[in-house]
Symmetry: C2
Subunit: 211 residues, 2 copies
């Protein structure tokens, strides 16, 4: 049975789940959620996910939301991306949690404010504040990647697939990979993986559709 | 061997780890990190935790950071708080990730800005913006707890221990439990657990020490 992922191209959180599915080799397909058309706030969608968020994965009777949970499911089903020892498992979880707390959460919000809100509704003071916090997160990641190809161990894990969630998008939010050589190299390591696709190629929906 | 938790009273993220240890019955003790005195940014502490954050748990040779990872370690060691089926395990992880993304992360930051920064350094526009986002998070939690004693299943799990991290503190950040009857009832369920303590009683350090 084909796994379905409810998602949309602009969503870096969806991308984390889609990329895990894609690189795992599991049989999956994306189902478009028209987030910008309000579909995620509809009663039908809230019945699928009370948190009103994408992505949601459906595999037969299993329905899961939160990208990190879907990544764990992909790991449990495919044996991939979870780390190769108990130490690595904890280390993968550490970076997935850190990403949810410090990196993707703030990058996603800042990108949304700067690109998907009308200019007159953008909270002017919030954007530089968030960019300052994000800079601290980039520093942490850049330092960790010094001398490493991957965040944990010797190969790609959910730590990488989580932390890269918003870092391939073209819309400006204050991240320029050229300024962070280790992050830049690591992003290339990920995009060199067989089957890798850019978020707007991997999932339906992009700003171009609404232009 | 006694588990050591590097923590400080004001840190809700530390509280999540301390409360899991405390309610698990494992042998543990807190070690004070003088965060407000700059200790967490010292080279010595950054060698313990490159993310420069509390808490950090040390159990013999095992050293872990990120509250959600420490909670998972407590679960692996004690058999408690992880859920009783595979479905519950995913559901616990879902709420822990949600908390890291939407609730504790933003509550902790807002409380910090409103209480631990000098008044003339507070970013005035950021605070109401974050409070608006937090209100959406309280709504999600309030709705989920309708008719439930616990976030997942029939007993306390890491989902509860994570989401309550900042909700017992007295400092104002825009959360008033009286406005959220289900959350209020659930917080009492947690504080009724044998061994429960308030953050300022469970961990060393509080604003009173610096007054």
């Amino acid at each position: 049975m084909t796994i379905k992922l409810y998602c949309f191209g602009e969503s870096g959180n969806s991308y984390k789940a889609a990329l895990a599915l894609q690189l795992s080799g599991l049989d999956w397909e994306p189902v478009f959620v028209d987030f910008f058309g309000g579909a995620a706030r509809s009663p039908e969608y809230l019945a699928i996910n009370e948190m009103g968020e994408a992505p949601v994965m459906v595999d037969g009777d299993v329905k899961l939301s939160q990208s990190g949970v879907i990544q764990q499911y992909v790991t449990d089903k495919s044996g991939k991306f979870g780390g190769t020892s108990q130490d690595e498992k904890y280390e993968v979880l550490r970076w997935v949690l850190w990403d949810n707390h410090k990196l993707s959460s703030q990058a996603g919000m800042t990108r949304f404010l700067m690109n998907f809100l009308p200019e007159d509704k953008r909270p002017a003071e919030v954007i530089p504040f968030m960019q300052g916090r994000l800079k601290a997160a980039y520093k942490t990641l850049e330092k960790h990647l010094e001398g490493r190809d991957w965040i944990v161990g010797d190969g790609i894990t959910n730590a990488d697939i989580s932390c890269c969630g918003y870092l391939y998008y073209p819309e400006p939010f204050g991240f320029d990979r050229a300024q962070w050589p280790n992050i830049d190299r690591w992003l290339s390591n990920i995009s060199d993986q067989p089957g890798w696709k850019h978020p707007y190629d991997l999932m339906p929906g992009s700003p171009a559709d609404r232009a």
